[in-house]
């Protein structure tokens, strides 16, 4: 008799009604958003503070590059000695003093530029000063060699190689970043989902064992039905939680940014530099390309592959979690079995991050997108870059085949393990159970 819907319903309702589940579902996005808001608010405070940097330029070569900006003011000192300048800056309690001495040549000069401050200055301040000076001094050197700067600027040519595959799909660099972002998000989402809800399945099986209800249930349903029911019910609860998180998260995000007027997405320490770059018309063009890039993605393929590999990968791992839950009496005993599960997952994410970026169709990426324990994550990361359908199908079939094998294996361990109390199982023991 098929009790599967009944079991799924019970598992789902129990999970969803559980108090800690409800609290977590509501609190998590609030905490997340609150954190982001606090960080955003603090960095805004930081950015609103105006830094005053005093400049003592004895060489008089670079004075005019120090233009005041919104957050940085330059105080140019003239006709004072270095020691006096230091005293002035220290007493005025401004950010620091940039000292450019007079030297015979620029090469000698650069060795003696110094920044004096009370505390160690921020890295971004120093590098911004360095790039200002470098640009300026390069121009000076060029002029010394008799090169007309205007002509030089006019001669600059920007090359943007348009990429197109043989079947006519147009891609670009920005496309690649976009694809990478999509792949990483998908892979990481799967990784998180497996760890959070796999553990939940494991705990609910352990709970069934410790409450000793298992034998009552198992006299009416087949163990494999119970196991699948638990996996599916818990997954549905997980999806519900995820959807609620996304909804609450986006509502809060809007509300918070409206109330506090904080642009949450934009607050990076180098926002000033980014803003400057944004004004560049070429970058603006690229931003438009970004939207085009989204439409360039093989969207139908992505969505189907995402659903299939997500479900396949999740079920594969959750059946292993179920087997572990059945094998042990309490959560502390699970540690020894967790490593072999976490390892391939972590490996998959690392391969995704390091090799798929480098070369989405290289040997390593290709091989690991076929190995069932890593394929869901790695394949999801590869697909935005265009993977031949036959590879996707083969990889998915391998995944399904392995899933059936692990379910069979997990069910074996499950049906023996759930009735086994007080034994701390070893791997040897588990192999014996499979033979029972």
């Amino acid at each position: 008799m098929n009790h599967l819907p009944l079991i799924i319903k019970r598992e789902y309702l129990t999970k969803v009604r559980n108090k800690s589940f409800i609290v977590m579902t509501i609190l998590s996005p609030i905490i997340m958003i609150a954190l982001i808001a606090v960080v955003g608010y603090l960095s805004q405070l930081n950015n609103n503070k105006t830094r005053t940097i005093s400049v003592l330029d004895e060489s008089e070569l670079v004075t005019d590059v120090f233009q005041n900006t919104e957050h940085t003011k330059y105080n140019l000192l003239n006709n004072v000695s270095l020691d006096d300048a230091k005293t002035i800056v220290e007493e005025a309690e401004t950010y620091g003093l940039l000292y450019i001495p007079k030297q015979d040549s620029i090469d000698a000069l650069v060795k003696h530029i110094k920044f004096y401050s009370k505390e160690t200055p921020s890295l971004s301040v120093i590098s911004s000063l360095e790039s200002k000076l470098e640009n300026r001094l390069r121009d000076v050197k060029l002029q010394e060699q008799g090169i007309d700067l205007d002509k030089l600027t006019a001669s600059r040519t920007k090359v943007n190689i348009a990429q197109e595959s043989f079947i006519g799909e147009k891609t670009s660099k920005i496309d690649s970043y976009f694809k990478l972002g999509f792949g990483l998000a998908a892979g990481y989402l799967l990784f998180m989902f497996i760890i959070i809800y796999g553990n939940m399945i494991m705990r609910s099986i352990i709970e069934e064992k410790t409450s000793r209800i298992i034998e009552v249930i198992i006299s009416s349903v087949k163990p494999i039905q119970l196991m699948l029911g638990k996996i599916i019910g818990t997954s549905l609860a997980g999806i519900t939680q995820f959807v609620i998180w996304i909804i609450i998260g986006s509502i809060l995000m809007t509300v918070v940014s409206a109330i506090f007027g904080i642009d949450l997405m934009q607050q990076t320490p180098q926002s000033e530099m980014v803003q400057q770059a944004m004004e560049n018309p070429e970058v603006a063009m690229e931003m438009q390309n970004l939207i085009a890039a989204f439409y360039n993605l093989p969207i139908a393929n992505l969505i189907i592959a995402f659903i299939l590999f997500f479900i396949g990968g999740y079920l594969l791992y959750s059946s292993l979690y179920a087997a572990i839950g059945a094998a042990v009496d309490n959560e502390t005993d699970t540690q020894q079995f967790m490593l072999p599960i976490i390892m391939p997952l972590v490996l998959a994410v690392y391969i995704g991050i390091f090799t798929v970026i480098e070369d989405p169709h290289g040997t390593v990426s290709t091989i690991f997108s076929f190995i069932p324990f890593t394929s869901p994550v790695v394949m999801l990361m590869r697909i935005p870059f265009g993977v031949p359908i036959w590879q996707q199908v083969l990889s998915f079939l391998l995944l399904v085949g392995t899933f059936m094998l692990t379910v069979w294996f997990a069910a074996k361990i499950y049906r023996v393990g759930i009735l086994m109390y007080g034994k701390k199982p070893s791997y040897k023991e588990l192999i014996k159970w499979i033979k029972y």
Partner: protein, 308 residues
């Protein structure tokens, strides 16, 4: 009289360990069948085979003449020794769930649950969580879950553990009533006084083998030692004891009585009859007590296990 359940030469090994070695039992329809044995003898494994929780390595089980199939779970109610309920689930939801797993419709389950909850006076627990109930209360609910789908075969593994005497009696009466209404009961326990009270057939399993089975009265007849407990009033008890011991195999015993009588156990040999003994005793004094000693289930259990 047909057998409701027959197990034929059921064997089960777990690795090198033999849990059941060609065990056969026959449970007559309408009987209360005691499945006895020391701890670890294999009782629970046999019960799990009957419940299709464990598959036997060899042998087969017939229920009502048919080989066991998965739909038979609806005909069996099982109260395991290791039992529990979902702690954080409400009583009502939980029993409905378990009843539906046994194949009852939700509506039907509700009607029957109302009957049973009223009968055991636990109606107001419906919305409580199991963790708010005492162990005995939870046991009552488990009992209801076991019998709710009106199975032909009921299997109770240590049903009285965790009950106070009043509730144990209540449950015992319910078991007897279910038997009278046509159910067959398999009853696994260590508590011999309840075997004595309830069972009409028993099987004894020891170290994976069945060492004894049959009707309880037949087994008792088989195990009786032809020993009689007597009380006889006499002036000189020591002399009388000496006289009797020369003619019969005697030993001193004690039992509650109002008389200060000589109390003896007398074991008769096969060619001596109880009447001969009684008429001999009446010549020696006034007989105040004369009872044949019937072995208790406990004695039989211990003796059978020892002999093996």
């Amino acid at each position: 009289m047909k057998n409701l359940l027959e197990a034929h030469a059921v064997s089960k090994n777990f690795g090198d360990f033999t849990a059941l070695n060609k065990v056969s039992i026959s449970v007559p329809k309408g009987s209360i069948f005691g499945l006895l044995g020391p701890n670890g003898a294999g009782k629970t494994t046999l019960i799990r085979v009957i419940n299709q929780i464990t598959m036997p390595d060899a042998g087969h089980v017939l229920l009502d003449g048919e080989p066991l199939q998965s739909h038979h779970v609806q005909n069996i109610g099982y109260l395991p020794e290791e039992r529990g309920l979902y702690k954080s689930m409400k009583v009502g939801e939980q029993v409905l769930y378990l009843a539906q797993l046994k194949g009852l419709s939700k509506a039907e389950a509700k009607i029957r649950l109302k009957y049973w909850f009223d009968r055991l006076e636990i109606g107001d627990w419906w919305n409580k969580k199991i963790q708010e109930l005492s162990k005995g209360m939870a046991q009552k609910i488990q009992f209801v879950v076991t019998v709710l789908h009106e199975p032909k075969l009921l299997i109770f593994d240590e049903p009285f553990s965790g009950f106070d005497p009043i509730n144990a009696n209540l449950i015992k009466d319910e078991i007897l009533r279910l038997r009278d209404n046509g159910a067959t009961v398999i009853f696994s326990t260590h508590r011999m006084e309840s075997v004595e009270e309830l069972c009409d057939h028993i099987a004894l399993i020891h170290q994976s083998n069945k060492i004894l089975d049959g009707k309880l009265t037949d087994i008792k007849r088989q195990y009786k030692t032809n020993t009689f407990e007597i009380g006889i009033n006499a002036a000189d008890k020591v002399a009388l004891a000496e006289t009797i011991s020369q003619k019969f195999d005697t030993s001193i015993t004690d039992f509650r009585s109002l008389n200060d009588a000589l109390k003896l156990n007398i074991k008769l040999s096969e060619n001596e009859s109880a009447n001969d003994l009684l008429s001999y005793l009446t010549t020696k004094g006034e007989v105040s007590h004369f009872v044949e000693l019937i072995p208790s289930a406990n004695d039989i259990f211990i003796q059978a296990v020892k002999n093996n």
